[in-house]
């Protein structure tokens, strides 16, 4: 055995030292169909090249063939974990093109649902991220609470995941009467549940060892690589679009933006958990202060009429028929509307040529850019740390590939 241990190193040319390893596209910890081509030296990562596009369905091309209102259900399919953020961002962009005023009640409902969506998304992230690292229990706990959010969405929109609840000009329907009470009851219990997750993870030696000092990303790299959302704030940049460039009435809500300068996977975990607590606060404020009034803008040529009005008034019926068969024209121009989604800056670039179909819709999705930082996070670390880093940027391949 002795001469095996002291066997002379046969490798002297540098090209022979490394080998290429494929991680994905069917690897469970890549959260979908991400393929990472790793160049490794022993177990140390030398290079990482993400290979994406396995889920590319040409949504941007499909949008160009649909009426403006028909694009809303397509946007759900981009980021299937936070569909309402996509709905919101697209609707805000088109409303900006139309210069349409949205009633306050609709804005507050949108804020409430955005925050519920953020909670939903962060719960999925927390469960799967902890599971990647080996803490299986948290996954079941998180999905228990997520199920409650999905049931609320089911009651609200008739769909658990692809809600398509937002409309250009407002929201689709008045929520069912018990929706507010159930949401309030859920929000009341959630902070205790977040404590439960933290009991399982925050003091957990294994979890700390797997995340602290792993996946480091400096402030300069984060900015130059286009990183947004929790990974950007974990790198010490105090930037949240909800506070700094408010949309949909976010300026009326009080909340804190957690920031950390640790730059590692641990910091991203801590920030997202704090963000969940802040989301509970925002959602509660939205419930408490929900104004009365209409839920759709007063624009009969753009917003579909109520069912009741359509069946009793000739004009409403004509508008309904026109919108469904011909769509509505949108004045020519281009807008870029960004919101803070669960993962960072989500932006919709919508170009109109004056017709009823968008000339071009482009989605700027947060993890598409953040994925570029994966090499900075992983080089010089072990393969197991790649799993932690990929989990920490909370990727959704639907929005990367579109």
């Amino acid at each position: 055995m002795g001469n095996l241990l002291t066997a002379p190193t046969v490798v002297d040319s540098s090209e022979d030292r490394t080998m290429i390893l494929n991680m994905g596209p069917q690897h469970p910890s890549t959260h979908g169909v991400l393929r990472l081509v790793l160049e490794i030296d022993g177990e140390v990562v030398v290079r990482v090249a993400p290979d994406i596009g396995f889920l590319h369905t040409g949504i941007e091309k499909t949008c160009e063939a649909k009426f403006y209102q028909q694009v809303v259900p397509l946007t759900d399919r981009i980021d299937y974990i936070s569909p309402m953020h996509n709905n919101l961002c697209y609707c805000l962009a088109v409303e900006k093109l139309l210069q349409l005023e949205i009633p306050e009640r609709a804005q507050w409902l949108r804020v409430l649902l955005s925050e519920l969506t953020r909670l939903n998304s962060h719960l999925v992230w927390l469960g799967t991220h902890a599971m990647d690292i080996g803490a299986l229990t948290v996954f079941l706990y998180c999905f228990r609470e997520r199920e409650q959010i999905l049931r609320l969405f089911d009651d609200l929109a008739g769909q658990r995941m692809m809600t398509s609840y937002f409309r250009i000009g407002g929201v689709a329907l008045e929520p069912p009467l018990d929706f507010y009470d159930r949401t309030r009851a859920f929000l009341k219990t959630l902070p205790e549940k977040i404590d439960e997750y933290e009991d399982l993870l925050t003091g957990n030696r294994i979890f700390i060892n797997r995340t602290k000092g792993v996946g480091l990303l400096s402030r300069e790299d984060a900015i130059s690589l286009g990183v947004t959302g929790p990974p950007l704030r974990a790198s010490g940049v105090d930037w949240d679009l909800r506070r700094d460039m408010p949309y949909s009435g976010y300026e009326k809500f009080q909340f804190k933006v957690p920031v950390s300068t640790d730059c590692d996977v641990w910091a991203r975990y801590v920030l997202r958990v704090q963000e969940m607590r802040e989301s509970v606060k925002i959602a509660t404020q939205a419930l408490d202060g929900l104004p009365q009034g209409p839920i759709k803008a007063d624009a009969p040529k753009i917003v579909l009429p109520d069912r009741e009005a359509m069946k009793t008034q000739m004009e409403a019926l004509i508008h309904h028929f026109k919108i469904v068969t011909e769509g509505f024209g949108v004045p020519a121009g281009e807008v870029y509307q960004a919101i803070e989604s669960s993962r960072g800056e989500m932006g919709y670039y919508v170009v109109s040529d004056g017709t009823a179909k968008p000339y071009r819709v482009h989605m700027r999705n947060p993890t598409f850019a953040t994925l570029q930082a994966i090499e900075k996070m992983c080089v010089g670390r072990l393969i197991a740390d790649v799993v932690a880093a990929v989990g920490s940027i909370d990727i959704v391949l639907g929005e990367i590939d579109r």
Binding site: K96, V237, A332, A338, Y349, L371, Q372
Partner: protein, 167 residues
């Protein structure tokens, strides 16, 4: 097709009305010949730049505080000319402000300099535009297809590419 037929007679008026805008001030001072057109529409500033000045313009606004590249994408104005509009969305964290750069390129020579040297974030965006529109980016470190298969032929987001694909 408002964008293409806009010949730029409003340029000076827009530049004068927003003279204290940080990006306009920096560009008119350092690169006065770069701005071909300016538009202020729905609260958004769009500056059309000369194709060969895009890197210099990005460096100028970066120095002026526009530190974050949010997005690069393309619009195909087929059959109008020039055909392709490359749109750059740039954000300033300190100023809480966005600007848009537009660069127009012709169908016969769809190429523009890559800005990956200014913002490495442009890497994936430019590859995506190259993949889906066939616009080349000079000086890009790895200009290969990103979303479509590597042996794919055609550029799906061009307007002369049918929605259902070629059969």
């Amino acid at each position: 097709m408002g964008l293409v037929t806009d010949t730029g007679e409003n340029k000076d008026a827009v530049l004068a009305a927003h003279a204290d805008h940080r990006a306009i001030a920096a560009l008119t001072q350092h690169l006065p010949d770069a701005i071909q057109n300016a538009k202020f529409d729905r609260g958004e500033l769009t500056l059309t730049l000369a194709r060969e000045r895009i890197i210099a313009a990005c460096r100028t606004v970066q120095a002026a505080g526009y530190n974050f590249l949010a997005d690069v994408t393309c619009v195909d104005w087929y059959p109008n000319r020039p055909r392709f509009q490359i749109s750059y969305h740039i954000l300033s964290h300190p100023l809480k402000q966005r600007i848009r750069f537009a660069v127009f390129v012709e169908e016969g020579d769809p190429a523009v300099d890559s800005i990956t040297g200014v913002w490495p974030a442009a890497n994936f965006y430019e590859r995506e535009v190259f993949d889906l529109f066939g616009v080349r980016f000079g000086g890009h470190p790895n200009l290969r297809r990103l979303l479509m298969p590597e042996d794919y032929r055609g550029n799906p987001l061009r307007k002369d590419f049918p929605v259902e694909g070629y059969r």
